[in-house]
């Protein structure tokens, strides 16, 4: 759609609103359930109004035709798969939303977005207000099944008013279609193609936006890609849109089973380790307050920083791994854990996919080393060399997630994961106890 169409579209809002007054009622079926709604209504919207949650990211009520870019809303409509947001409701429509296959497809697409971009939620201004993150929670994405691609992208600090964080953009196209100057000129446009596609900003046009228009651009961006300088943290964490409550009637992580605590717990052995992590996950493990006393009775720690046992003295039931592998020693230790533990759990983002240390993955290791040891602001020219003693572990070209080195049985997301989330998971693994993880306990940041 070109600029002229846009102008038309924007001025004709009220007209269409009036015209829509005569609405035909129709019946459609979603997963077998009959729904009465208005003909021509967007399917995602119609489903939502009837308490059926169809995930969506690029869909935005007042962009018509819808963008249909993200594919997170993929459903079956009258037997053919396609994005629900592109469908207008018509009488007799048969829709499938919650088949195992479709759920899997939608979840995979959200995972793909995490793998494709570089999403370091703990350091993201949008965390808690981010629709991508939110979809991850709603779908129970605890890890991406896809390898993270760690593509190097720049952050654009040139705009006067914005910072454009290309690593986080999911190419939903909302900003391209919706952010226009008063003259009707576009401020954003897709640039390049394929996996090089990025959303470029026009510096000239950007300067013409009012403060409100700029804030609106940040607001409609479903991720933390568009930031308005000085405004990114305006809303404090803990009070953000998706912080505490699911939009679904049923909490996505509730397994529907009643909490069940075993009385006759057998004593179990646990080993823990921090590889390329910050010990934050270990701090979180200790953060369960009084329940810690409870656990000491039933759990014996073997190799672990918690009790400072350096070597395995026996086979363990569970190994909790914090951190990914950034050097050769991490790899060896992890392999040893695999041999000595029945189950391995990746605890936290770093173990799951690299996490914050993986920020270096987009940069060649040579550059990282030179910056750290030769050209850093605290190093004096000629003073230092890159350490290369035989005794030192060798640094890997990338920070690797643990499950690329050994088989990992379970994953607990978070940076760090909530203490209760960790222990609920562990208690479930050790004694088959049932707990529901609360929405507020399931976090990536």
């Amino acid at each position: 759609m070109d600029r002229k169409d846009h102008k038309k579209k924007h001025t004709s809002h009220s007209v269409t609103a009036k015209r829509e007054q005569v609405k035909e009622r129709v019946t459609i079926r979603i997963d077998g359930k009959e729904i009465r709604t208005e003909a021509g209504k967007n399917l995602v919207q119609a489903a939502r109004e009837n308490g059926i949650f169809i995930p969506s990211l690029c869909y935005f009520e007042h962009i018509d035709p819808p963008l249909g870019t993200c594919r997170v809303c993929t459903c079956n409509v009258n037997g053919a798969s396609g994005p629900a947001c592109m469908e207008k409701v018509s009488d007799g429509m048969e829709v499938e939303v919650h088949t195992p296959e479709l759920k899997n497809v939608r979840k995979a697409i959200v995972e793909m977005m995490f793998s494709e971009g570089n999403h370091f939620c703990p350091s993201c201004e949008k965390s808690g207000d981010c629709s991508l993150q939110h979809m991850g929670y709603e779908m129970g994405v605890y890890k991406s099944r896809f390898p993270h691609l760690f593509k190097d992208r720049l952050i654009d600090f040139n705009p006067k008013r914005f910072v454009i964080e290309h690593n986080r953009c999911v190419k939903c196209r909302r900003c391209v279609e919706e952010v226009l100057t008063n003259d009707g000129n576009r401020v954003f446009s897709f640039s390049n193609r394929g996996n090089e596609t990025l959303v470029a900003i026009d510096y000239e046009q950007e300067a013409k936006l009012s403060e409100e228009q700029a804030l609106e651009a940040m607001r409609i961006c479903p991720t933390g890609a568009i930031l308005v300088r000085g405004q990114a943290f305006a809303r404090p964490f803990g009070t953000r849109k998706f912080d505490m409550k699911s939009v679904q009637k049923k909490d996505p992580f509730s397994n529907g089973k009643k909490k069940k605590k075993q009385n006759g717990r057998a004593k179990k052995t646990i080993a823990t380790i921090s590889l390329a992590g910050c010990f934050g996950c270990h701090m979180s493990m200790l953060d369960i307050d009084l329940e810690l006393l409870d656990l000491v009775e039933f759990i014996e720690f073997n190799k672990s920083p918690i009790n400072d046992i350096k070597e395995f003295t026996k086979h363990c039931d569970v190994g909790l791994i914090e951190g990914g592998c950034c050097n050769s020693e991490n790899v060896e230790v992890l392999r040893e854990f695999r041999k000595k533990c029945d189950l391995l759990v990746s605890v936290g983002e770093c173990a799951i996919w690299g996490g914050l240390p993986a920020m270096r993955n987009t940069i060649p290791i040579g550059e990282c080393l030179e910056e750290a040891y030769l050209n850093g602001i605290t190093t004096e020219t000629g003073e230092y060399t890159i350490p290369n003693s035989e005794d030192l572990p060798k640094i890997l070209d990338q920070v690797y997630p643990c499950n690329e080195i050994v088989k990992i049985d379970y994953f607990i997301p978070g940076c760090p994961p909530d203490a209760h989330h960790i222990w609920k998971a562990v208690a479930n693994l050790l004694w088959d106890e049932q707990y529901s993880v609360l929405y507020s306990e399931f976090k990536y940041d």
Binding site: L67, V105, V187, D202, R335, D397
Partner: protein, 580 residues
């Protein structure tokens, strides 16, 4: 004329042409050019940049007085691509992907350029140079250095029409007399034209096999006076070159098909979307159009039919495989990024400039013209009862007679292999990387819509060709040709490429193959257009059809808890840096 009115209304549709003017004049589009266009068309610079950066023949930095595009398709790879690339680098001094310091030569890789029967091949300033070898490269470059014009020293491109059925059954490559088909319009109504074509069940030849008559009929029934005929001459599917041969041998037949279509649906303007790789045929095509105007086969009262006005123009693309997808093509014709549209309606309802538009492949138009010329009865005597007519296939790869084969529908794969004198065939790729692969167990299968639905490309690979490297070449192709609009294709192709690399390194286990299968299916279900939907089809098929080969690719030692990890490779960089 209709053309002028629409175009004056919408200068935006000329953007591609305007960009070509700048690009051709000085081998790139400068900041000033972008600014000038932005002011002139009153659109943001970033939008123009967006269009430029979508097409890979547009450059924002000088691309050399002589810009060389070397084809990197799998066929070229098998015929010595690496050697030729090195030769070009050596002779010109340019490294692939850039220009040499003096700015005289620029060397770039590009996807299939439609010369698969004469690989390795390259375009220099969009003139074809075929059957390259290192000596030939040397002499071409030295001639250019001495001032030769690529237009003068380029290679003639033979049509290589290797096979046609018996004369009465040959439909496309039979003698051609301009105006013979259009004549029919004088005393037949549009409905009669459509019904005549309908009788032959003529399918579209560009990939989807949608009945031509049905498409025209729907378009005819759309309300509105302004309708368009668009001829898809983007032929980007690697290994396809039938449209090239048609346009070279029978350009008039294609024009007649478009004229007939215009008459049938009530359109006054036809547009040929010609891929830039075929720019060397542009003059010829324009001459043909001019000749048609002189013969009153284009213009007012075409062919003596009172009130039937129709004209044709050519829109040159700018390098993007996805622009062959019809809605992407329409966007591109409108001067936009060639992204497929999100489908809510079909081009016959909302096409070029949102007007009803018939999009058909070059061959479809030709076949339609022959139906009208020869009559449906004649066509029904060819092919099979269910699938009457003939099909052009472009045969390439490991065979003695690469070229164009006009075959009747229902011909077996084995017959084609025999005709082209395939050498020790082992892996056959039908309809290009987006199509299907066949093993030798399937050679009795028939080439027809419900069996081996070949839309043009037929590549033969012998036993010495490594299947994985073929698949990797496809994967690279899809990754770089994805338009980037939808997640499963944009990210998925990148992810699959990584996975294949893992297999290449010998690190893959059974789970990796399971994942490829699952992920490929997800891309198929969720992608917006055929590119993403089909991108993993061959890969999944190959894993099914060549199990012995892939068993050999599984790391047998490490099936279990500790996975394969190449520590040596992962620490190599560090060792290099820390010991220097």
């Amino acid at each position: 004329m209709n053309k002028e009115t629409t175009e004056i209304r919408n200068p935006r549709t000329q953007l591609l042409d305007r960009l070509w003017e700048y690009q051709s004049a000085k081998s790139y589009i400068s900041d000033e050019d972008v600014k000038a266009l932005s002011t002139e068309l009153d659109i943001s610079q970033v939008e123009i940049e967006g269009v430029i950066s979508f097409y890979h023949f547009f450059h924002r930095k000088p691309a050399g007085k002589f810009t060389i595009y070397l084809n990197n398709s799998i066929l070229s790879q098998h015929k010595g691509f690496d050697r030729i690339r090195e030769a070009f680098e050596r002779e010109t001094g340019a490294l692939t992907g850039g220009i040499e310091p003096s700015g005289q030569f620029g060397l770039f890789e590009t996807a299939c350029i439609g010369l698969s029967d004469q690989e390795p091949a390259a375009l220099i300033n969009f003139y074809p140079f075929t059957n390259l070898n290192t000596l030939k490269v040397k002499s071409i470059i030295s001639a250019l250095k001495q001032g030769a014009d690529p237009a003068d020293i380029c290679d003639p491109v033979p049509d290589n029409i290797r096979h046609t059925p018996s004369p009465d059954k040959t439909l496309i490559f039979r003698p051609y007399q301009p105006g013979n088909a259009v004549k029919f319009l004088r005393d037949h109504s549009p409905e009669e034209v459509i019904s005549e074509i309908g009788k032959t069940k003529l399918p579209g030849m560009g990939g989807a096999f949608f009945p031509v008559a049905r498409k025209w009929e729907i378009c005819r029934n759309q309300p509105g006076d302004v309708k368009y005929i668009a001829c898809n001459a983007d032929e980007g599917e690697p290994g396809t070159f039938k449209d090239r041969v048609i346009m070279n041998a029978l350009p008039g037949l294609m024009l007649e098909g478009m004229i007939i279509s215009g008459y049938a649906v009530g359109a006054e303007e036809g547009i040929i979307y010609l891929r830039a790789e075929y720019k060397w045929m542009l003059t010829k095509l324009e001459k043909c159009i001019e000749q048609f105007r002189k013969m009153n086969l284009l213009g007012k009262n075409v062919g003596g039919v009172r009130g039937f006005n129709f004209d044709i123009r050519i829109q040159v693309g700018a390098g993007a495989y996805v622009c062959g997808e019809e809605t992407a093509m329409l966007n591109s014709m409108e001067g936009k990024r060639g992204e497929p549209r999100a489908k809510r309606s079909y081009p016959v309802e909302r096409g070029f400039l949102q007007k009803p538009t018939v999009v058909n492949n070059v061959e479809s138009f030709c076949a339609a013209a022959r139906v009208i010329e020869l009559g449906a009865e004649h066509i029904l005597r060819t092919g099979t009862k269910e699938f009457p007519g003939t099909k052009l296939i472009s045969v390439s790869g490991d065979c003695y007679k690469p070229g164009i084969y006009e075959i009747e529908w229902g011909t077996t794969v084995k017959e084609v292999l025999g005709l082209c004198e395939a050498q020790d065939p082992f892996f056959i790729q039908v309809s290009g990387p987006s199509g299907i692969c066949l093993s030798m167990k399937e050679v009795e299968r028939k080439i027809q819509k419900d069996d081996v639905a070949c839309c043009g490309s037929f590549m033969v690979f012998n036993k010495s060709r490594d299947i994985l490297s073929i698949l990797q070449n496809y994967s690279d192709f899809f990754k770089s040709e994805s338009c980037g609009v939808c997640t499963p294709c944009r990210a998925g192709n990148f992810i699959i490429q990584r996975k294949l690399h893992r297999i290449e390194l010998g690190l893959a286990n059974k789970a990796d193959f399971e994942e490829i299968r699952e992920w490929g299916n997800i891309m198929g279900i969720a992608s917006r257009c055929g590119l993403g939907k089909m991108a993993t089809r061959t890969l999944l098929m190959a894993i099914e059809k060549f199990p012995e080969y892939f068993d050999g690719k599984i790391d047998q030692k490490r099936e279990g808890l500790n996975l394969s990890f190449d520590m040596e490779a992962a620490t190599a960089e560090y060792i290099k840096f820390s010991s220097s």
